[in-house]
Symmetry: C2
């Protein structure tokens, strides 16, 4: 019992102490704003149609890290913003993310998210599609309430790009001819666009200069790409409990993430039929994921994905160097540095 | 041959000459604006992801009457608006409507719309959900480009209400205990909210007075309810070719529209099991729709639905009387008057 506890602590500390520590620091720095975000979200979900707060509450309370709203609040506070519109924007960003997750889970027919049953399993696909639309509309109402047309441009543009990225991902799925460029285009659209809009809109509402706006947008974008690349690597090489999703999800769905793009591109001719069967033909059996992981290890598919993530993290730090130096920029720097070392 | 042609002409003229004539007049009055709407919509649908313009184009070109964008343009021109932002708003309204239709068809598993195969049948449900999200985001980008925060409030609020109405409709479906109030709440949200926002935003962008804004909002709302009530009546008593959808669609889906609410409420005790079987249990066989129509005829379910529609039409005309008198208000009055006589 004592030994088990010790082993578990060592595993935990080996896993991701720095990243989770950086998230905790950022959360503490943005705590007041985040409380406001939670209240805004709760108020938004109210509806006389009982299913709406039930389903939306299940999604919103499912224990996400709230990284995106933290980014918006930190970006605004980095420029000494002392109003309260950043809270509305941060809540809107989290709601756009939430609506996307609801529709994603329908599209992917996912049964689990962060260890809990998905809304499409509990309430149904129809309900998830329509409540997703409702949440999305509420996000726009919140943004409009912040009364800044430039911010509205940034956030409405981002939500279009996200949807475009989701469609693009659908067209690359199970396509073993997918290239690094195609993969990066998907990540740029479906993940980096909202991270970029989150930090840019926080900076904008605080009245930063155009150069600072560019810097914060760049930071968000590059952090988003690095974050997604690491997420994709963890899907083949992570700890199940740390992710809240099952290892191998992307593999089972035939998602052409960077580890898979590398592995397929570097496969020997004799291994091509294996990838065709498991990815193109979706014909998977016991041991296939393990074999895929062995091939990825041999061909440095995971290692090179992490190297790629580190490049984007370096860009993000460079972007941040153009912003004022204070506790918020220090926490944002920590976040990006540790995000590429999490779970490794 | 000669006789057949004559019969067909008589049928056509019996069907809906006035309403289609009123639509044609309104279309002619708003022709320049509508050309702009088509260009905006076409530009919005562009994307390097080829499936997006394909699927969106299929939906947008499927031959809708474009009533909503006509309403926005007419409402703006009614107040002598001579800018071009009303075109962006009208396009946004049509795109919100289009995104809703895409998601509706997924939720209802519909195979036909306006006589053509639906996008979910041709491209798939996943694709329809995601392209719907894309169109919805583009609608917001267009609204933002019109740079009027009050209009943004009106339109973003409406899109939330529409989604709420769709969820509400889902919860009343196949529920033979659904009441007139529940039905009207669904219509208010899923149809009238966008009609109201269409006319209100046109009036607002033209710089009308608050009283005129209320009047145009009221006109759109009441026209929307009347229009939907007639649509619901036509589903039991229309001409297939005129609707572009099959008669009995609502019946087959167990949608508790007003004709059905009346029929079930007025059924004799011995007829209740019939309604339970065909609606609650979705167990329908040949002849059931015909039997339902006979019962509706006997109990004035269709006639009273039309009477109800006429009440809302009268409200709409009263709203319109508070606006300036010109060719646009005359055309809008014609539209509402003929909408309640179409196909009867």
């Amino acid at each position: 019992m004592g030994l088990a506890a010790t082993t578990s602590e060592i595993t935990a500390s080996k896993k991701a102490p720095d990243f989770l520590g950086a998230v905790a620091t950022l959360r503490a720095l943005t705590a007041t704003g985040l409380d406001g975000v939670n209240q805004e979200i709760l108020a938004c979900m109210q509806s006389p149609v009982a299913m709406i707060p039930d389903l939306a509450g299940h999604l919103i309370n499912a224990g996400g890290k709230r990284i995106r709203p933290m980014l918006t609040i930190a970006a605004a506070r980095l420029f000494d913003y002392d109003g309260d519109h950043h809270v509305k924007l941060a809540a809107a960003v989290e709601l756009i993310h939430g609506a996307t997750l609801l529709h994603d889970d329908v599209v992917d027919a996912s049964a689990l998210r962060r260890g809990a049953q998905t809304a499409n399993i509990i309430w149904g696909n129809k309900e998830s599609v329509l409540v997703g639309d409702f949440i999305f509309s509420r996000a726009f109402e919140l943004m409009v309430a912040a009364k800044d047309l430039r911010v509205l441009q940034v956030l409405s543009r981002a939500s279009g790009v996200i949807a475009e990225g989701e469609v693009l991902q659908l067209t690359t799925q199970k396509n073993i001819a997918a290239t690094i460029d195609m993969y990066l285009a998907v990540v740029e659209a479906k993940t980096a666009a909202l991270f970029a809009a989150a930090t840019q809109s926080g900076a904008l509402i605080a009245g930063c200069t155009p150069a600072e706006e560019d810097a914060l947008r760049g930071y968000g974008r590059n952090l988003g790409i690095a974050y997604q690349l690491i997420d994709d690597a963890l899907d083949y090489d992570g700890f199940e409990s740390d992710l809240g999703k099952s290892i191998g999800d992307d593999f089972r769905e035939g998602k052409m993430t960077l580890p898979l793009v590398y592995a397929v591109a570097r496969a020997k001719p004799s291994e091509k039929p294996f990838w065709r069967r498991v990815i193109s033909d979706s014909c998977q059996k016991d041991g296939d994921l393990e074999k895929a992981c062995v091939l990825m290890e041999r061909d440095d598919a995971i290692a090179d994905t992490i190297t790629c993530a580190r490049r984007y993290a370096a860009h993000a730090l460079n972007d941040l160097s153009k912003a004022p130096e204070n506790e918020f920029s220090a926490a944002l720097a920590d976040l990006v540095e540790t995000s590429v070392s999490r779970a490794f």
